[in-house]
Subunit: 308 residues, 2 copies
């Protein structure tokens, strides 16, 4: 089983409007709500691919109930810790008559998570670690969490001999690398901001020097760069697939977790990570894959070793 | 007592961000939630001015509970009908580092209100009409309501000899005029869209010919035009006060309701409507007045009779 942790989940609200014009009033044509957050999206992709997964997260208020109901309806196993602060929202506004446009996103920061609640979440996750093959910690930390929070989960997992993947940024990413995370997956901009290195190979090396066993850098529609103990690779799709960038990153993490579970060699893991990522970018909402794109692209992805 | 009816209330969510840039991701700096809808705002202004008021509205779900809690906390009397569909949201995004910019608003349409629920709301309002001096029906109708809904409330009020004010637009405004509403208050754009007349005096005449006793046209920061059985007036502030247009219109309606209650002559009602409107435009959120502006402006408003 792959356990995902979403420290700062959200109820994702999506609005369809004609156009987005700052400073004006918009009639919302349709409203859709869905359980969201990066770890949840990873679990959705794993579930879609037939792999057993457990969502863990702190949730609160009526929006927390909505997240629970949505996961139950989707048939995704979950272990949610009730906390006092209500779960945050994200609002994604899609301009239907502006087909070239990306969605306009408003991400609430989330409510304060008390230290005691974080410890209770760790304990709860600990009760299921004996069943886990991989632990994934993904996404932002809510206010109140220390930058060591992801690193603490890496240590908890390693204490049970469970490999850990972390998708985070900034100090939380550095701390996870120092805790010896098995895989960290920043995108190129996050890697640059976190390490101060403009070259992704140098930035990845920096995180491996800190302690991360493998650093996978997502390059958006151009694929991935992997810096591992076994070597350096560049994985590329046959053509750029643009679309939902949040979903693409989460699908790559899902493939990397599945690769550990299945003990795949690195080139195979990277091929799947690029394929799932492209299939997620092509799908309308994060956590789902476009199966047509997946079938079409997988065998045409190139994975080349680079000289380190 | 002044009863307000808000057929399509909302939980107003406001976000503060740095800038609003379509097609990008925004970190929300702060989130504020508040019971909203035009009738509610009218009641807030009346309450602020020490007048007894009763909010009536259909509400549903957790957001309905939030509306009830917010009104209770504000000490505003309310009679809310629980309905199955959850209350809608509006989202107002304020760009803090773009001081010239107006808020960017996203208005959800609201859930379907069943005919039976509308009738139950009418019955509920009917139980309090014997105590009422004025009935105000304000704002959009939820999906499922017929265009005659406001007109039905005008008839219910008149059956109890209670004067009725309607702030609506389009077919609902026409129907309310035909039902003999004592005051209707479109803004200039709504009057034009509803009557097809570009000149506000002609448009107001049109609604009076349909049956409205008085038509008050809000002209934004330029004041009001009033077409009544007693004559035609133009009320102007000493200088334009720009700001929150939703709040300004609702404050004008509150002053018109208070004017009926206090049996003020038309020039006095119009003076207060312009003053409350300017004080509301200067306040940060709808339903509140800037008391400094109110004190400063009231005696400097001009009310001139026009030749009809």
């Amino acid at each position: 089983m792959i356990i995902t942790v979403t420290p700062n989940p959200a109820l994702d609200v999506s609005y369809r409007v004609a156009h987005v014009r700052p400073g004006t009033s918009h009639r919302v044509r349709s409203v859709h709500e869905r359980a969201g957050g990066k770890g949840l999206n990873v679990s959705r992709v794993l579930h879609d691919q037939g792999l057993r997964t457990l969502v863990t997260a702190p949730v609160g208020g009526a929006r927390g109930d909505a997240i629970r109901d949505d996961l139950t309806a989707a048939g995704i196993e979950h272990l949610l810790l009730p906390v006092p602060g209500p779960t945050r929202r994200t609002v994604a506004v899609v301009a239907e008559e502006d087909p070239s446009g990306e969605a306009t996103l408003f991400n609430e920061p989330g409510n304060h998570l008390a230290e005691a609640d974080w410890q209770r979440l760790r304990d709860l996750i600990g009760t299921r670690l004996p069943e886990a093959s991989v632990l994934v910690c993904s996404g932002s930390l809510p206010p109140g969490c220390t930058v060591d929070s992801c690193a603490e989960l890496v240590c908890d997992a390693h204490a049970r001999s469970v490999p850990a993947i972390v998708d985070a940024t900034g100090p939380a990413l550095l701390a996870a690398a120092e805790a010896g995370a098995d895989v960290v997956k920043p995108n190129a901009a996050e890697l640059r901001e976190t390490t101060g290195q403009h070259d992704p190979i140098t930035g990845a090396r920096h995180l491996r020097d800190r302690g991360a066993a493998a650093v996978i850098v997502s390059l958006g529609p151009d694929g991935l760069l992997a810096s591992t103990e076994e070597g350096l690779w560049r994985a590329k799709p046959p053509h750029a697939v643009s679309g939902n960038p949040t979903g693409a990153g989460d699908a790559a993490v899902a493939a990397l977790a599945a690769g550990i579970l299945r003990r795949e060699p690195w080139p195979e893991r990277l091929r799947n990570a690029v394929a799932w990522s492209a299939a997620a970018a092509a799908a309308p909402v994060a956590g789902t894959l476009d199966h047509r794109v997946l079938g079409d692209i997988t065998d045409r992805i190139t994975v080349e070793p680079l000289a380190s």
